[in-house]
Amino acid sequence: MRFLKAFSSLATLQNGDAFGGWLMRIVSNLSLNYRRSRKIRSQLPLDDLLGATDSGQTDSSGSEWMAKSGDPVRSLEGKELGAQLMKALGQLPEKQRLAIVMFTIEEMPQKQVAETLGCSVEAVKWHVFQGRKKLKELLKGYL
């Protein structure tokens, strides 16, 4: 399905040589979007740059998610961790980031990750290891 979406976006690709990286970026973004769509999302009010979610929920005051969570401080800490995690993931080399997104977050079998990335299962394990090792360093103050 993700690859179908990727191919439907093929017309937006300007440079044919960049196809591999372009496709991997789309898969990575869709993976993250898919993960987000599995959870109930809340919105923080950043004027009109943050809009309604796919499910049509809005939260203009921030009070809704605070009411849903029993502990607002913990929720804020969790959101801060989430923000730092996204930032840290963005700092990883592409294969490490994709391996972590697909294997750790989406829980895809390593064989499938290997096929998607065009590498061996051992290489997937290595990418996950190296990526997670870096994340461990980058998120030291947040865990």
Partner: protein, 69 residues
């Protein structure tokens, strides 16, 4: 300094992907060395954090695109 291959094995063990043939030996090493046990706990913690991190707020890209930056 910790051998990288040993740390790699611990990472796989945390994921449950370490080959069975190597599992017993690694478990014995971990049981005998508290720093390895702590490292295993760290890898499990980071994996849980990645899996359970709350989603980021959604940005309305259409609205953003309609703004002149």
């Amino acid at each position: 300094m910790l051998d990288e291959q040993l740390e790699f094995a611990i990472s796989q063990y945390a994921d449950g992907t370490l080959p069975a043939s190597r599992r017993d030996a690694l478990e014995a090493q971990i049981a005998a060395n508290p720093s390895l046990a702590a490292l295993l706990a760290e890898y499990r913690q980071i994996s849980n954090a990645i899996r359970n991190a709350p989603p980021m707020p959604e940005i309305n890209w259409d609205r953003l695109a309609s703004h002149s930056l």
